[in-house]
């Protein structure tokens, strides 16, 4: 029997964000927005969901007067992403 795919990651935008963060040390909100081609509001909601699950950390700071939102993937997030990819592999093999 196949394992269920993590519903938190099984969404296009959240999966996109996690894939980007897996390849980066850290990324700014504007970068994620540009690469995922999403709206600020939608991205913000999805980032909060990932953060509440402990998959990413969100740090708010300032560069001069410009507000910065920096996202980083956590160990829990890396584990969840790897499990998601492994389950995905099982689905494709089937």
């Amino acid at each position: 029997m196949l394992k269920e795919l993590d519903p938190l990651l099984h969404s296009q935008l959240r999966l996109g964000v996690m894939s980007l963060l897996m390849s980066a040390e850290s990324a700014e909100f504007v970068y994620l927005k540009e690469k995922t081609n999403s709206t600020a509001g939608n991205l913000s909601v999805q980032l909060d969901k990932l953060s509440e699950a402990g998959y990413i950390t969100i740090e708010k700071s300032f560069n001069g007067k410009k507000p910065l939102t920096t996202c980083k993937v956590t160990k829990k997030g890396i584990k969840a992403f790897e499990e998601y990819v492994n389950t995905l592999r099982d689905y494709i093999k089937k």
Binding site: L5, P7, H10, S11, Q12, L13, R14, L15, G16, S19, L20, M22, S23, A24, E25, S26, A27, E28, V30, Y31, K35, T36, N37, S38, N42, Q46, N63, Y84, V85, L88, Y91, I92
Partner: protein, 195 residues
């Protein structure tokens, strides 16, 4: 990108992952600034010292030309801090690249500081790690001229073992111009073309 999750098939999920990873791959910083800054400074130091000796132009003071390295470190530090602040994404390869050059600087520092113990065969010793760092930088940013630059430093480093100290300085100057400055300008031109 939408947030629907019921319509996402396994294949679509894979497509999202691969396309995002591909997007992130081009994010290694390809800054030519450091290559140009250090290229010019080290070329001026090597060639300046060589010609001061050869042309008998205050040869006693020739080694002091290397003091130029100190403000260069400061300029690099200020530029690096600013760049880190402005960067919207930091990749593992950026970190590797940064620490590669810091490790290289630590590796060659004793040769500079205790050159008398090496009978001033400094360039023979320091050009090998510089070659390694240049070559690996070429691999990281996928830029062939830096690979050739790295190889050139290795060749120059080995050649230096057979040269008297003063000619090693000339070899060092030539290696920096060909292996560092020219790839640095090529990198800058490519960046401008890509922009």
């Amino acid at each position: 990108m939408e947030t629907k999750n019921d319509s996402l098939s396994a294949q679509q999920s894979l497509d999202v992952i691969t396309s995002m990873i591909r997007q992130a791959q081009g994010n290694v910083s390809r800054s030519s600034f450091y290559f140009l800054l250090w290229g010019w400074v080290i070329a001026i130091c090597n060639l300046g010292m060589y010609f001061m000796y050869k042309l008998h132009f205050y040869p006693r003071y020739a080694p002091y030309i290397w003091l130029l390295v100190l403000p260069t470190y400061l300029a690099m530090f200020i530029y690096g801090r600013k760049q880190e602040k402005d960067r919207i994404v930091k990749t593992h390869l950026d970190q590797i690249s940064k620490w590669l050059w810091i490790s290289m600087a630590i590796t060659i520092a004793p040769a500079w500081l205790f050159g008398d113990k090496l009978n001033w065969m400094i360039n023979a010793v320091i050009m090998m790690p510089i070659g390694a760092a240049t070559f690996v930088s070429g691999i990281i940013i996928r830029f062939k001229p830096l690979l050739y630059g790295g190889i050139l430093f290795w060749v120059a480093g080995i050649t230096c073992y057979f040269l008297p100290p003063i000619d090693q300085i000339l070899a060092g100057g030539i290696a920096v111009v060909l292996g560092y400055l020219i790839p640095g300008y090529m990198l800058r031109n490519q960046r401008e073309k890509d922009a």
